[in-house]
Amino acid sequence: MSKILILAEHANGQLNQATAKCVTCAKAIGGEVHLAIFSNDGQAVAKQAAGLADVSKVLQIDHQDFSHPLAAQIAPELAAQADGYGYVLAPSTMFGKDVLPRAAALLGVNQVSDIMAVNSARSFKRPVYAGNAIVDVTVPADSLVVATVRTASWAAAGEGGSATIEQSAPQSDRPAHTRFVELRTEAGDRPDLQTANIVISGGRALGSAENFEMIYALARKLKAGVGASRAAVDAGYVPNDMQVGQTGKIISPELYFAFGISGAIQHVTGIKDAGTIIAVNKDADAPIFEIADIGLVGDLFQVIPELEQALS
């Protein structure tokens, strides 16, 4: 049976849920599932990883150079650890997309990007053209499979596992040419956009950062995460990490509200896996209504306060 190595993602001592989604994809492929954790002090994360169902081993590789997730540091080490594995997987997050292709090149193979379904152990479905087409990609038997996993397509693996944890030191050289300077986040107390059950997004129609306060207020009421269209981000109403879509976050909440978003293909590709999409737009012909489960033609500046009141 083939062995599958998953590059785990974590921050602040917490395993990212995207990793648990990769485990589910690995299960669909079939094989022994191991997780690799690169950290300066990976013990807490390794424990969480070892508790994931269906994971049999956790490789904990600690070094001070891994205190920040730098592709130039992690990729050579991941490639070194990949020896003996048939598959190397990572989530299609910014982290996975940054590190994995660098490792794939060192391993001499192309990467299968964004696995959304597994046809067989060596054949996968992935989206191309901003999700306008799906293509089957087969990796021949003599080639290592290096792939990112489209997290919105997979449920997170459960808990109850008891994997062994194997600690080791890095085997490869780490370059000095790339240095971490800082991470700027606007971490608030809102639920994380990528794991929230409900997400409320606003578009260009909000008109200002101040007006976005309406969206935040509704989100607080519904304990929802907050997203935005690219137009809203570009206009400076909200920070970039809130962008939903082809070049932002691909999400799959149970409930998605789009207020004043036209429904451009690049936005829609980020919400196709949502359970129920609700769109409010004052233009009855807005393309967002083509994919919305429930549509309401109206002015968001009236609808949002009314909705807030109806929910009180």
């Binding site: 982290f95 001499g108 293509v135 300077v181 971490a187 196709k272 994919i291 429930i294």
Partner: protein
């Protein structure tokens, strides 16, 4: 500093491509082709560097058949100094492209190499990272800001948690995200001028004899359609519908 910018010819982002009924690919006959939007941003950034005096030469490179000369000419009209076509009739998988790009880098010795973060046709998001790996040089993907400081650069990257700043030695590979800049429009006189700028053609085989094609592309299919939804008249209707479905 010489800046190399890799630009790919792709179906324009406004075109809604359709999968052929026989599942053999997408219909690209007669559709508008453009420079990949992220690559256009990469080129704009290089041009701004030249205007600011940090770059002295901007070279655009595209791998493809003769039709990609159209995008190279557009790049020249935007302001690139010269262009190179890596001539091939094959669709290059990212590792093959990276291998060829590296060979060209070794000839051209640029101080900075810019690519788009992803091509909007294959949506692979791999080539820049692979090139950096093969070259053994720094990579900064998803750049939102690039500041050149002599032999190094400060790059602000878009990451899931917000913005990350890296300090990288040059030469390096940087891939661009949407917010880096807004590309300029091409003016008519510049299109005329671009016709006189040098465009060299080099055969793929002159750069690499290695074949890195390890993925087999099979059947294509259209994405699953979401079933048609309903319209409600007002907020009361919306809340009622959500409650009916057990969603609130």
């Amino acid at each position: 500093m010489k800046v190399l910018v890799f630009i790919k010819r792709v179906v324009d982002y406004n075109v809604r491509v359709k999968v052929r009924p026989d599942g053999s690919g997408v219909d690209t006959g007669g559709v508008k082709m453009s420079i990949n939007p992220f690559d256009e941003i990469a080129l704009e950034e290089a041009l701004q560097m030249r205007e600011a005096g940090t770059a002295d030469e901007v070279v655009v490179v595209s791998a493809g058949g003769n039709e990609c000369q159209q995008q190279l000419r557009t790049g020249l009209a935007m302001g690139a100094d010269r262009a190179i076509q890596i001539d091939t009739d094959k669709t290059l998988q990212p590792l093959s492209a990276a291998r060829a790009f590296l060979a060209l880098i070794e000839q051209q010795q640029p101080g900075l190499v810019l690519l788009g973060k992803q091509a909007i046709d294959d949506d692979n998001n791999q080539t820049g990272q692979m090139l950096a790996a093969l070259w053994g040089r720094p990579q900064a993907t998803n750049a939102a800001e690039i500041v050149i400081n002599g032999n190094s650069a400060l790059v602000t990257r878009e990451v899931d948690a917000g913005l990350e700043v890296l300090d990288i030695d040059l030469p390096a590979v940087v891939t661009t995200d949407l917010r880096l800049n807004t590309p300029r429009f091409v003016k008519l006189p510049d299109i005329m001028k671009a016709k006189k700028k040098p465009l060299d053609v080099v055969a793929l085989g002159e750069l690499t004899s290695h074949d890195d094609t390890n993925l087999q592309i099979g059947q294509w299919s259209p994405p699953a359609q979401r079933s048609k939804g309903i319209m409600v008249d007002d907020v009361a209707g919306l809340v009622g519908e959500l409650k009916n479905r057990g969603l609130l």
